[in-house]
Symmetry: C2
Amino acid sequence: MVDGTNRQWILTERPTGEPSTDDFSLREEPIPEPGPNEALVRTSYLSVDPYMRGRMRDADSYADPWTLGEPMRGRVVGEVIESNVDDVAVGDLVRGNLHWAEYAVATGAELDPVDTGEAPPSTALHVLGMPGLTAYVGTVEVGHVRPGDTVVVSGAAGAVGSLAGQIARIAGCRVVGVAGSAEKTAWLTDELGFDAAVNYRRVEDLPSAIESACPRGVDLYFENVGGPVSDAVMDRLTDYSRVAVCGKISLYNLPEGERATGPRRLHQRTRTRVEGFIVSDYDHLAESVSRRLARWVEEGEVRYRETVTEGIENAPAAFLGLFEGENVGKQLVKVGR
Amino acid sequence: MVDGTNRQWILTERPTGEPSTDDFSLREEPIPEPGPNEALVRTSYLSVDPYMRGRMRDADSYADPWTLGEPMRGRVVGEVIESNVDDVAVGDLVRGNLHWAEYAVATGAELDPVDTGEAPPSTALHVLGMPGLTAYVGTVEVGHVRPGDTVVVSGAAGAVGSLAGQIARIAGCRVVGVAGSAEKTAWLTDELGFDAAVNYRRVEDLPSAIESACPRGVDLYFENVGGPVSDAVMDRLTDYSRVAVCGKISLYNLPEGERATGPRRLHQRTRTRVEGFIVSDYDHLAESVSRRLARWVEEGEVRYRETVTEGIENAPAAFLGLFEGENVGKQLVKVGR
């Protein structure tokens, strides 16, 4: 039994429209005690991700909604402090879908060992974790990336987008990123090897900027944002083009019941295939994709950046910052040592 | 050399928005004379099809635009009157992409023999021709129809839609048609074996009508129309659903430069695949699909209806009627004997 206090975030309101820090409440409780076949994990890093906006809704979706008054769930990397689980030892680094909290109790089945080799353990929450698999699946499995393609990635400086663009680059493509600041676009072209990057917040005419960056049109669009950025990209789709719909963050904070409108898009002439996907359908690929990404990271072919917010008390702010585009690369919350 | 007059339709204007009969002009010329390796064909039936609206535009598309001042092209079935082509004899029934005219000259390569077995030759322009292949490809190749699917077809009483629904029925699906008159919906359910049909012009609340007709949601949507009918159907798509975009006739007559708007549709949560297609990409399947459809017609499994307009002089009116939904089944123009 570990003495002390466990600070954990509770969902107190389901927002309609823009969420705010008022929707969350930080509750202090004694550090919980693991039961049989359970372990106590001290969080090192908590991952906050755009998909979590959907969990704030009480609606049928692929991810169960968070329950009001209960701790919110999220992927964490942490250290085992106490263990009643065979094969899980005190001091082990583990990953799991645990709580927005300093400590959490989990069953053995809920925990995976973290093995990131030379890379720091936090990479288990991005390049060597779910965002890495998402980037690979959207580009390769859903997007059917082909050498010579022009690939556009929106949300390109995010955890998933930055990896998707680099995978497409390795696959022999011309890669164009769309992002929302000069710092981000510079990172994409100068460090990650994107062929071009468009700052959608600064260009006067987004469609022309996309056209200049994609003189042969867009063969594959990795969609993270929705809205006007999509419109500009999707007007340039080539024959037999593909759109991998990973997310649409610009539309997540619409008031309940309100629907975004825009051009009607049914790409018959170009034979475009638009396909939505959810990474959990591809769990069977997780291990092999993670190995590929680990190798590329080791070889310097794939790079990543982390935006680290310190302290569990700042987790909601870090989460809300995703919708403002405040992160470059993966947004993490550093909780423990 | 055949004496007499050949009446043929010329495109005189490129309409913006709704086309009208003023965009066409009936020209009388002497019946043309076939040169070396050419034959003279007397049109029996001319096919008018929604895709022809695109040919009125001077825009890059999969079908070459019609040339102003020249005869418009369209698929015809006709009889060979004179022939300088080996293997094409006077009296042969042929099919080709010829003129909106009583007579046309064509090379041997432009003509296919018509072999419709027990079925009348006009079926070479629908169930045993391009519309039949379109229906099959959209349902099977693009739509990946599966037994147990709920399949919705819009434009369901048209040449393509009526066949798509019957193919889905044969494939073991619950089939729901959306059409624009009581006569049409009765035909779908009473004669073609659709499980349900919705008259979108008469229901008070289209989304509710679709919901009632599709209690388990929509697994495959065969899209012919675009617009609000699509909205109602696409709100009911199931996980891993598919949308085969064959056409969007309700949007074809927008003024140039104007874009239809509607709900933004990027179906990520349901992992929907939306895919446009063009039948000419599937010419390699034409023969085998035509054989299947011929067998089903013979067995009474697939039925068809023709709406026949008499006289080449009425061809533009027949074409324009497509956009008003005046046809039930395949719209043809009967030109010759």
